[in-house]
């Protein structure tokens, strides 16, 4: 059996009925990693010994406890954690050499929740250092490659998690999304990637990039899998005062409900010059499918979109410069001069925009623009239920193609960053393939509308089944 093509739903069924064991599945993951990860560079640290130990433990539990799958909804599911996720006694680098030897004394809240739910941590994944990037190339280690085309980037910053799920090294790859970092790799790797509402999932123990933007989500092959994981990770955390006591929906329960009468908005500001025609056509084809499923599509306007990237690249570096202050060279091995170029760029930008005399002109002004962007979305959601945009204006680009031009790199997130400014959820859904490369479609909803996003994406996925198209390591 091709274990690597399975979904969480399949695996849970098979574990329950004893078709294979946790141990077999876990071993299979490591065999795959050892065979392929040299080409992909998805992992920075493997957790093989612990993972196999857990797998044995769970196999025992399955034998002895009939209700174990109710108690542990992700029992035996191999999971890859982005290296911003703090893991107790397991090396956590943030993709940076500054903390290249850091073994945290505690688990992030989400790490703990996933472990308690029975997920098996396979390893820690590669990423743009500190989450700064859209391609994975800003890692202080070897850049991750796209399993669908090894000469191309997998999208970032959660590059390793995206690639790992795409090539079957794990069934879930966790990520963080500050401007694009889950949705872009999901789009470039043919996955479902959720950027949840800000405050839906705890940030405690996730190494901060920009605290008022960071959201904690994950990538999976299918919508069901994705919803299943959010049921575990979502919720109020007394250790994170920005989480909220809003009810957690039973996201998997509504999948399959129809979307007749759903109103989809196409923000006209997102379908303009710079958008690759082939990508545009793919999204338009997908919209036709959604219409066939009962949705109606109309154009809407998000008038302040033009200012979004500028505001984003003032506010985010401001918070970045603050959050990276703690790596002062005293307590963690690396001194500040070994920060990578992108981190240095953001520290300088942010220090400048926060300095007295410039604060009002930059930070404060950008914060006001942020409010306008948020209001744009609120107004749009009075007219329509969800918005649909491309994930990226282009197909996955070549490794090295944009590294010399940070501005070009920033623009790959142009459809994604505004969602973080507004704090609302966005879901990346496969929209098919162009020239053998995955194209992603973004579905955006109002605050805490994850259930609706899943509902829409699920029907679309049932219709298209793009997730079944597996990577062939082209150009290897």
């Amino acid at each position: 059996m091709d274990l690597l093509g399975l979904t969480i739903k399949d695996v849970l069924e098979k574990l329950k009925t004893g078709v294979f064991s946790c141990r077999e599945l876990t071993e299979k993951c490591f065999v795959n990693i050892k065979k392929n990860d040299k080409k992909i560079n998805a992992f920075l640290t493997l957790n093989e010994e612990q993972a196999l130990k857990k797998a044995n433990e769970y196999d025992e539990l399955i034998k002895n406890d009939k209700e174990i799958f109710d108690k542990k909804p992700l029992l035996g599911i191999p999971i890859a954690l982005k290296d911003l996720y703090t893991t107790k006694n397991l090396r956590t680098t943030a993709g940076s050499k500054i903390i290249g030897d850091y073994y945290p004394p505690f688990d992030a809240t989400v790490t703990k929740k996933l472990i308690n739910a029975g997920a098996i941590i396979i390893g820690k994944t590669n990423q743009d250092a500190w989450g700064h990037g859209s391609s994975g190339e800003n890692t202080d280690y070897e850049p991750t490659r796209n399993p669908y085309d090894l000469s191309r980037v997998p999208g970032g910053s959660s590059s390793g998690s995206g690639a790992a799920v795409a090539y079957g090294a794990a069934l879930v790859g966790t990520g963080t999304d500050t401007g694009s970092s889950i949705r872009l790799p999901a789009g470039f790797c043919n996955l479902i990637g959720l950027k949840p509402t800000y405050g839906r999932v705890s940030r405690y123990g996730i190494i901060a990039m920009a605290s008022s933007f960071d959201t904690i989500g994950h990538m999976t092959k299918t919508v069901y899998d994705n919803a299943k994981v959010l049921e575990v990770t979502a919720g109020l955390d007394p250790y994170d005062s920005t989480t909220v006591p809003i009810k957690i929906d039973q996201y998997t329960k509504i999948l399959g409900q129809n979307i007749k009468g759903l109103k989809i908005g196409l923000p006209k500001e997102y379908f303009v010059k710079g958008l690759d025609n082939k990508v545009n056509n793919s999204i338009k084809d997908s919209l036709k499918i959604l219409e066939k499923l009962g949705a109606t599509v109309k154009e809407v306007s998000l008038p302040h979109t033009y200012y979004a990237m500028a505001a984003y690249y003032i506010l985010v570096p401001s918070e970045v410069s603050s959050n990276l202050s703690r790596y002062d060279g005293i307590r963690y091995g690396g001194a500040r001069e070994i920060f990578g170029a992108e981190a240095k760029r953001r520290i300088m930008l942010g220090s400048y925009t926060l300095s007295s005399g410039y604060y009002d002109a930059y930070y404060l002004k950008a914060a006001k623009v942020r409010t306008l962007i948020k209001q744009d979305f609120e107004k749009a959601f009075k007219e329509v239920d969800v918005l649909v945009t491309p994930i990226s204006p282009t197909l996955p680009f070549k490794i090295g193609e944009k590294t010399d031009d940070p501005l070009q790199m920033y623009l790959s997130d142009i459809c994604l960053c505004p969602v973080n400014l507004a704090g609302i959820p966005g879901l990346s859904v496969p929209s098919g393939f162009v020239d053998g490369l995955p194209v992603g479609m973004q579905i955006i909803g109002p605050q805490f509308s994850e259930e609706l996003l899943y509902k829409v994406a699920y029907l679309f996925e049932q219709e298209t089944q793009y997730y079944k198209i597996r990577p062939q390591f082209k150009n290897g």
Binding site: A94, Y204, G205, T242, R326, S355
Partner: protein, 445 residues
């Protein structure tokens, strides 16, 4: 000091709140009694990657309580900000403080020299503590994070203090109020309360504040505050007399030499790059929460003193010796009322307590128990004049020298004789009665 210059002082005072847990985590807040360094720490107060602060509600309430006791207005919308600077005892590279929206603003503290305006009262976190010592023959700097993220309240005054004596009185008064609210021990020696004075001199007749100010920092006693300011006034005067302007700088006070010295000059002035801490949602005080805090603010200290003077004839100086916290004052007042009702003299009770003739515990003992301790201490044993006279006679005979002294006008001798009689009688007898008897017997003989 001659009239040519007017001293202008503004003060900034920090006090560590004595909440059970720290400001932004659940660690024990007890840095001064910790057995070892770094035992009250966690990812949050160590500033480990990914850790997040959660604000201590009690500390916020206590800050507002202090603000209310100082007559401040309360910002119904407030927030925490990050203040950035690099220092080894600051693990996050920034301190969580409050910048433009402090919890409280615009209050005042009365002094005998006039009122001192309170600009603001805000809440922040304390830093770790650096310890410089030799380990295995090497000079090293160690960091103790037990103090890291302990809640720290800062009270800032207007530049409305005009002398070292007023500064000292203000600081003492502020400590008295904070202790009265029972929110901080204000232990100055250990650094639980720290004083800073911004001092400058204004030419007589000027109306604008001077262009410079000298910050005198980290002073740990009221006396040093006074001495340090006095030294500064003289130092600055000398510079001004030469037609120069003193440097804007931070200075420390050396108690041994009684001088101030440069710690940090203005060239190194930091830009703290304040911005709202995105990890902590803004704080909104709704009416019910604010009312709850208001109702926890005790009667002002001054009115307690005035009432006690009026109702119980206890002057303020004595009252100040009797209690520190509002709870103690409340319990004492219960005792006073009960004494009064029973027609027992409150002033006598106070006297015995202040002079430690009786020991009472306001919290472990009930009002009845305390009153019975008092009664016992003043109770006299029953003894007839006849019996007493026999004993007095015996003592007079045994102590001819004391009798001679007394007759010669050495009035203290009577105390000695009274004591001797009581010892012989093995009884407690009212002093005045005994004194009268002795004198009348000596007159007869």
């Amino acid at each position: 000091m001659d009239k040519k210059y007017q001293t202008i002082i503004g003060m900034e005072t920090h006090a560590e709140l004595k909440t059970l847990s720290k400001m932004f985590c659940g660690c024990k807040n007890d840095p001064f009694h910790a057995e070892k360094p770094n035992i009250y720490t966690c990812p949050v107060c160590l500033g480990l990657p990914g850790a997040l602060p959660v604000a201590n509600k009690k500390a916020i309430e206590w800050t507002v309580k202090l603000g209310l006791a100082l007559g401040c207005k309360i910002n119904s919308f407030s927030k925490f900000d990050r203040k950035h600077y690099f220092y080894p005892d600051l693990p996050k590279g920034y301190q969580i403080s409050q910048y433009d929206l402090p919890f409280c603003y615009d209050g005042k503290v009365e002094t005998s020299f006039g009122p001192v305006g309170i600009t603001r009262v805000h809440l922040e976190e304390d830093t770790g503590k650096l310890i410089h010592q030799k380990v295995n023959g090497r000079n090293v700097s160690l960091i103790d994070f037990n103090r890291s993220s302990v809640p720290l309240v800062e009270v800032v005054t207007e530049p409305e203090i005009y002398s070292s004596a007023q500064a000292k009185e203000y600081a003492k008064k502020l400590r008295q109020i904070i202790r009265y609210l029972d929110i901080s021990d204000c232990d100055m020696e250990k650094g639980g309360m720290r004083l800073e004075a911004n001092i400058s001199l204004m030419k007589e007749g000027e109306t604008k504040l001077p262009k410079y100010k000298v910050e005198l920092k980290n002073i740990n006693s009221f006396r040093f505050l006074e001495k340090g300011i006095e030294y500064e006034i003289e130092r600055q005067k000398e510079i001004l007399e030469k037609g120069l302007t003193p440097d804007q700088e931070t200075r420390g006070y050396n108690a041994e030499k009684n001088i101030t010295y440069t710690q940090r000059s203005k060239e190194e002035a930091a830009d703290y790059r304040y911005f709202p801490d995105p990890d902590l949602p803004p704080i909104r005080f709704n009416n019910s929460w604010l009312n709850e805090i208001k109702s926890s603010v005790p009667e002002p200290l001054e009115t307690v003193f005035i009432r006690w003077e009026k109702d119980f004839k206890i002057n303020k100086q004595l009252s100040e010796l009797l209690f520190e916290t509002a709870d103690e004052a409340k319990k004492l007042e219960e005792v006073f009322s009960n004494l009064s009702k029973s027609k027992l003299p409150v002033d006598k009770f106070v006297n015995l307590v202040v002079h430690k003739k009786i020991t009472i515990d306001l919290f472990k003992q009930s009002v009845e128990e305390i009153i019975s301790i008092y009664k016992k201490s003043v109770a006299v044993d029953d003894i007839s004049d006849e019996e007493l006279k026999k004993i007095i006679d015996k003592i007079i005979r045994a102590n001819p020298q004391a009798v001679r002294d007394l007759k010669a006008g050495k009035t203290q001798s009577i105390n000695f004789l009274v004591g001797q009689v009581m010892r012989e009688a093995k009884k407690k007898i009212e002093f005045q009665r005994l004194k009268g008897l002795i004198i009348s017997m000596l007159k007869m003989s």
